[in-house]
Amino acid sequence: MFQNLRLSMAWLHTWFGLVLGFVLMIVFFFGALSVFDREIDRWAIPSSRFEAQPMPSFDQVLKPVFETMQPSAERIDQLRNKVNGPVPTHFTTPSVWGAYTTHRDPVLGLFVGYEVPNAKEHDTRVFALRTIDPRSGASLPDDRLKIGSSFFYPMHYSLTFYWKNVGYWIVGLAALIMLAALVSGVIMHRKLFRELFTFRPNKNKQRSLLDLHNLTGVVALPFHFFFAFTGLVIFAGIYFPITHTQLEPLHELHERLDAEETGLPHDRAGVAAPMASVDAMVVEAQRRWAEKGMAGEVGFLAMRHVGDANGYVSIYRAGTDRIALTGEGIHFKAFTGELLREDPPSSAVDSVNEFLTGLHLQHFRHWLLRWLYVLGGLMGCVCIATGFLFFVEKRKRQHAKQGSQGARVVDALAVTTVTGMVVATLGILIANRLLPDSMGAGWPERQAMERYIFWGAWALAMVHAFLRSAPVAQGRLNPAWREQCLAVAGLAVVAVLLNWATTGDHLLRTLSAGYWPVAGVDLFMLAGAMVALFAARKLKQRAQRAPVLRPESSGPAHA
């Protein structure tokens, strides 16, 4: 099909990169934002703007909250097809209570998984979720969207298309193609090391674009490779769903054997039992961690088979001081508080897996590395965006002569996924500051409105990109690039000003108080505004210099 390996690699890199590049752009950008998802949550939910808190007392604070938690009407509604007979409205048998926090969380997320009576499949659970202020146990309003951890972060790995998990599959395919693009890119690139430091902004546009594409691709190559790869490793269970398809019986058997070996009961005994003090178990777990030279805070606490004689409590350590995602779990009998099991040291395979997933999920406390990850993610965005632009630049003059619309369409899609995505991101933050506390009757709830505005802003940016794309068909620049850069700059400043106006937290206050979560988000947006303004100015200069190319024939360009 092709004369040599390099040409076939070039074909693969160009076309697969073009098609899935649009997805990868979203994955990289929202991945970079997700590094600071908790901080974006603080910006979006002003009532949660206080210092990070440790796991509170279970006996005093968490237990009373868990006991009142019930699934939302929406979640109960989703059970309709999974139950024989009517769906219960009140659930009484909790199979699990869980509380999860990190060193960056002021508020605490709780969940309860209830057994569903008369369920068609025996493992069916319905979940109740709540966010509390761990200092008092008071609940935060349910309808506040945690824009960082519940929207930008899921966008990163699922595009928030949950129907049949289709979003996960698209992102997984994109990650796989990204690995192929990296390998083919390295093969195509003749001078990987000789041009490692090469960026020639004053050469012709194609050369400059390719330089920047290579530079951002090559210097961060280990980052790009490991993140695409570990992303696939993390979701291997979704991409190879054998445990609940072909190998279901084996999986069930393994679960039972595992329970026998670990002494952690697989099922309820069916005998009600009270629970001992969980706080005492936490103290014991922390003592055991300290004994191993790993003193630390509790990250995840779970109680299984709640209220049953087989109930047990699992306490996991927050992994702030290492990359590997290990919990050093210690398990106690809920009824008596006696120690059931201490997780043994990981096997070699487990250690590798824990390192790879930990590297991607970053539970560690290391602000420099976090920022370097943001840099890596943004370099990925630049690499993909310059890939699009190179594709367009290489073809647009030829397409202009032929009267083809190919370059025009790709360019408009590039505007949509580059500047349009940033417009949408700022749009949801602005909506978050402007929408009333509770939407009136007949309106969707607030968090749904925020998401609609995000998609609406993105759709508008797309319409704008296509409406203004005519000049590309004549070999010129789409003015939408410049206009959307200006929009980004304006919206970013508006978002910062609205944060001030609606919460009183202006930069002088947050900076002098050293409250970095909010100050950081504001500063990042202002820095983005400056970059966007600079880009708009450069684009204007370039547009004024550009020659005009017209199709050679005067009539309709082609039949």
Binding site: R194, L196, F197, T198, F199, R200, P201, L215, T216, V219, A220, P222, F223, D321, R322, I323, A324, F355, L359, F364, H366, L368, L369, L372, Y373, L375, G376, M379
Partner: protein
């Protein structure tokens, strides 16, 4: 020394190392020093100096964090340093002369 200062030194060392490695390449040497010729011996020394600095940066990273974390910090620091050196060569190539103080006088 506070960790942040150690990490700052690691970054500076990575930056200098990448700069020396770049200067050992003919095209970039020309961007900084123009016509003056870089002898093969000097180029070799620059490569050594560059390589050792990057290694030094790794040791500083290891002094601060758990080895697994230090490895990631180092890799990402190298990426950032390479990017800074590349952009310096694009717009302010002569600034890299600061890495070889005294050499300009020698060349003239």
């Amino acid at each position: 020394m506070p960790d942040s200062v150690t990490l700052l030194f690691a970054f500076v060392l990575a930056l200098a190392g990448m700069g020396w490695l770049a200067l050992a390449m003919e095209a970039h040497w020309e961007q900084v020093y123009g016509e003056a010729v870089c002898s093969p011996a000097l180029a070799r020394r620059l490569r050594w100096l560059g390589g050792l600095s990057l290694l030094g940066a790794l040791l500083l990273c290891l002094a601060v964090d758990h080895a697994t974390m230090a490895a990631l910090v180092w890799f990402m620091t190298l990426a950032a340093a390479a990017l800074v050196v590349a952009f310096t060569l694009s717009w302010r190539a002569r600034w890299l002369a600061v890495l070889l103080p005294g050499i300009r006088a020698e060349l003239n």
